[in-house]
């Protein structure tokens, strides 16, 4: 374990402009932030790092007044503040540019920059002055667009810069950029960084959140890492090795599942030493603009392939392409050697490919339907509405999956919304198992569920593969991926960077690949193209 002691206070730096101490925020059932300290200095770019559920967005929302804190103190330029809403935070000089551009595409660029403080003349809006003033601000960002044009006639990148123009115009002391680069290409990122540097030179403190490690290392001066709602540490960027950063973000969970892990692991060793299984699915250079660069991937029958990478690395995006949820821009998919086209999830299901979304609530369960209805949904949709599954068969299916997956529900008629997260996840799994897929894509199936349910799902994946089902398994927890997968594909910044047999790999090996993107040639030996 490398030494992760936080960087010493940079002695010469001035007083912090933002100083949050001991911040705790709880939601029903979750402690989202637990005594976190966070500070920002004028004229620095500060990156906030962490995986899903680390508490990044909660911390940002505490700072911008969207959430009120349960305990802890927020100081802005030395003065204690309590914001009761985003408007107050903005008035105090904290501006936020969210990932989804929160501007109005149906209005002009000038209005998007100026509305709320528009220049007036004769009791009405002075459009000429508004255009002139916004053109000046946009020119300050080297953005040469017509302020009278509609915002949504411009690319997302330009809209992002307009959002920043709006933020700057309110004389921000602190500028929060939440995932500003997720929809930008290389040149646009360079343009954005130029703007960030010029703001930094003006003394603005910039909070930069991004999943792209390269960008974080390029632009930021300081890093704060959160994990599971707690502060891991604050570091100077140039002093922190990438591998240490990734390790700090992912952590090494002292797992209660070690026994299971070793058992499965040894069994897998036998499996991998056997002959390579027949290829079930082969993807050649499949890609989608803005989601993932061309990727090759093969999955054998009965093989568990793990997808590893940080959040935003393209792991979900790739899984959605194979599941038919999003369609590919280019490339080819073959199932059992036959080329196929997937334009809808329904077509994927016809090819016995099932995708279980990471977004359980929004894209998975149908919360106001019963457990039974949720379990039979995909099977029923496949049969069509006029060929109903007989009620007796439905009851049998529901009862057998409730028992097999140990779903804790009063009965099959209970509404899924009333179940715990882990049990909802199991219901979702049951839905997909009911259609007997050849390939099951599990996107973060164990996120946010309790340890017991987690172990059960892992056991299930193992036994499914043993019975010949292929599984594409995505998890933010590397231990879990290592424990289950025969092969691990590593993604980084929306590209595939490695395809490794799980043959004596350690978490540290994986961390290194995820962080650096380069592969030790020794590790990659034995991987078929």
């Amino acid at each position: 374990m490398p030494d992760l002691t936080p960087a010493p206070d940079a002695g010469a730096s001035p007083a912090p402009v933002v100083d949050m101490t001991g911040i705790s925020i709880s939601f029903p059932g979750v402690k989202a932030l637990d005594g976190v300290d966070f500070r920002m200095f004028p004229g620095e770019v500060h990156s906030l790092m962490g995986e899903n559920g680390a508490g990044k967005s909660t911390l940002i929302k505490a700072l911008t007044g969207v959430y009120s804190v349960d305990s802890g103190v927020i100081r802005l330029a030395g003065k204690q503040v309590t914001f009761s809403g985003p408007a107050q935070a903005q008035a105090a000089g904290i501006s936020t540019v969210y990932q989804e551009v929160n501007l109005l595409g149906n209005l002009t660029v000038a209005e998007n920059v100026m509305l709320g403080r528009e220049p007036r003349r004769l009791g009405g809006i002075d459009w000429r002055a508004m255009r002139r003033r916004s053109a000046e601000i946009l020119q300050g960002l080297h953005l040469d667009i017509d302020p009278g044009s509609l915002l949504n006639s411009h690319s997302l990148a330009i809209q992002q810069l307009v959002a920043i123009a709006r933020a700057i115009d309110v004389q921000a002391k602190v500028l929060i950029l939440d995932e500003p680069t997720s929809s930008l290409d290389g040149e646009e990122v360079a343009e954005l960084f130029r703007v960030i540097r010029s703001l930094k030179d003006r003394g603005v403190a910039i909070l930069f959140v991004s999943h792209f490690l390269d960008q974080v290392y390029e632009i930021s001066d300081r890093l704060t890492v959160l994990r599971n709602g707690q502060l891991v540490g604050e570091y100077l960027t140039h002093e922190l090795l990438r591998i240490d950063l990734v390790q700090a973000m992912i952590g090494k969970e002292l797992s209660a599942l070690e026994d299971l892990g070793s058992r499965i692991h040894s069994a897998e060793k036998e499996a991998t030493s056997a002959a390579r299984p027949a290829t079930f699915l082969a993807a050649k250079a499949i890609s989608r603009k803005g989601a993932i660069a061309p990727v090759d991937l093969t999955i054998g029958a009965g093989e568990v392939v793990g997808l590893a990478g940080l959040l935003g690395s393209g792991r979900t995006e790739l899984a959605r392409l194979i599941g038919g949820v999003d369609h590919t821009d280019s490339g080819q998919l073959k199932v059992n050697g036959v080329p196929i086209r997937l334009r809808t999830p329904r077509q994927a299901i016809k090819h016995q490919i099932a995708y279980s979304s990471e977004n359980r609530r929004a894209e998975g369960i149908v919360d106001e339907l019963s457990v039974r209805d949720n379990i039979v949904l995909a099977l029923q949709a496949d049969r069509g509405w006029f060929r109903p599954i007989p009620r007796k068969r439905q009851d049998e299916l529901a009862a057998s999956y409730i028992e097999a997956l140990n779903i804790k529900t009063p009965n099959a008629d209970a509404l899924v919304r009333n179940l715990s997260g882990g049990n909802q996840q199991k219901v979702l799994l049951a839905r997909w198992l009911a259609i007997a897929p050849r390939l099951l894509i599990l996107d973060e199936p164990t996120r946010g569920i309790d340890v017991g349910a987690k172990a059960e799902i892992q056991k299930l994946v193992y036994s499914l593969a043993e019975n010949g089902m292929s599984v594409l398994f995505i998890s933010a927890e590397l231990e879990e991926v290592l424990r289950l997968a025969n092969r691990i594909v590593v993604l980084r910044d929306r590209r595939k960077v490695a395809d490794l047999p799980n043959d004596g790999l350690s978490v540290d090996d994986l961390l290194a690949v995820i962080a650096e993107g380069s592969v030790d040639p020794e590790l990659e030996s034995g991987v078929a193209s």
């Binding site: 985003p86 408007a87 903005q90 969210y98 929160n102 501007l103 109005l104 595409g105 149906n106 209005l107 209005e111 998007n112 509305l115 709320g116 528009e118 009405g124 809006i125 459009w127 509609l150 949504n152 006639s153 709006r166």
Partner: protein, 337 residues
């Protein structure tokens, strides 16, 4: 080659700009409406004697001044992403109130003020129901429609004629603009309302916030715009306009009747949509809505001139135009996103 290329590219740029303006969800539909209006007007002029004249347009304004005012109110609501089904019933209610109170000998000015206050208050209640209780605009305004129509019947079942001198004067007076060209005071009132609406939507924060709500209420709120207040106020504007339209309508017919304006809400919605306002909100011009009213009126006029075409074709034509414009809007907005 080189001598050719310069004007060609300039022409190309002009063409590209034209294409851009016509395919923008903001300006495209309203331009199509304007072209349509001119085509209909010209075609009518070619086909019928005495059609192609300013008098035709002025007559449309005289007949439909009340609908212009209704469409103005409806434009505010639809631009904000809502809908108001109550306008026809509220119009009828205000004609009935006017006729009844004048029959009882009330002061006509007081009657008009009272009507405008009452209909604006009804709009306020509807707005509060929509904003505070998150009732869908469709349902909340439906309730208002039932209420207004029911009140009409309670006040008077039969048609009441208006004999008040002020109302009669408003009905009879003609403002002469030239040879065989004149308009009623109602036309002036409708045009003033239109002008004020244009100014409000374009030059005030209330107006721009109305667009903002239609484009994305959440974004507008995060940008610090007064979305809550505005969302309630657009229904007050619509209520006020419905009341005023009712007054103009009673100038026009010199009577109040409970069954007045059944289905007028559909005419107002159709005029707004044909006038280029996106039914999902966010885009539109109130001047376009006035143009939409004129297009509807022109359809009616052409059918009258045609003689052989029966009046029900009006409804079918309006339905077909609605369809064309809704599909046009769909195409233009999906192209942008």
């Amino acid at each position: 080659m080189t001598t050719m290329s310069v004007p060609a590219s300039r022409l190309g740029r002009a063409w590209a700009r034209t294409v851009d303006v016509f395919t923008s969800p903001k300006s495209g539909p309203v331009l199509v409406t304007a072209v349509l209006f001119l085509l209909m007007f010209t075609a009518g002029g070619v086909r019928y004697r005495g059609f192609f004249s300013a008098a035709t347009i002025l007559n449309l304004l005289v007949s439909y001044s009340y609908l212009i005012v209704l469409a103005v109110g409806m434009s505010f609501v639809i631009i904000s992403g809502g809908i108001d089904l109550s306008v026809g019933a509220v119009l009828a209610l205000s004609t009935i109130i006017a006729a009844k109170l004048l029959q009882l000998g009330w002061n006509p000015i007081l009657v008009m003020v009272l009507i405008l206050v009452a209909t604006s208050t009804l709009g306020l209640l509807v707005g509060l129901m929509i904003h505070v209780f998150e009732v869908q605009p469709f349902i909340a305004t439906l309730a208002a429609m039932f209420l207004a129509r029911g009140l009409c019947y309670i006040i008077a079942k039969e048609s009441i004629s208006i004999t008040d001198p002020v109302f009669a004067w408003m009905a009879k007076t003609r403002i002469v603009l030239g040879y065989r060209m004149s308009v009623t005071p109602s036309v002036i009132i409708a045009l003033v309302v239109l002008a004020i609406a244009v100014w409000v939507l374009q030059y005030t924060r209330f107006g721009r916030t109305t667009y903002a709500i239609g484009g994305g209420e959440q974004s507008g709120m995060l940008m610090g715009l007064p979305t809550s207040r505005t969302k309630v106020l657009v229904y007050v504007v619509s209520g006020f306009c419905s009341g005023l339209a009712g007054i103009l309508y009673s100038f026009y017919t010199l009577s109040g009747y409970a069954l007045t304006g059944v289905g007028t809400e559909l005419d107002a919605i159709a005029a707004v949509v044909i006038g280029g306002t996106l039914l999902t909100g966010g885009y539109g011009f109130v001047l376009g809505s006035a143009l939409g009213v004129l297009v509807l009126g022109l359809i009616q006029t052409i059918i009258t001139f045609e003689g052989t075409l029966s009046s029900w074709w009006t409804k079918i034509f309006i339905g077909a135009l609605l369809l064309v414009f809704i599909i046009l809007q769909k195409v233009l907005t999906s192209r942008r996103t």
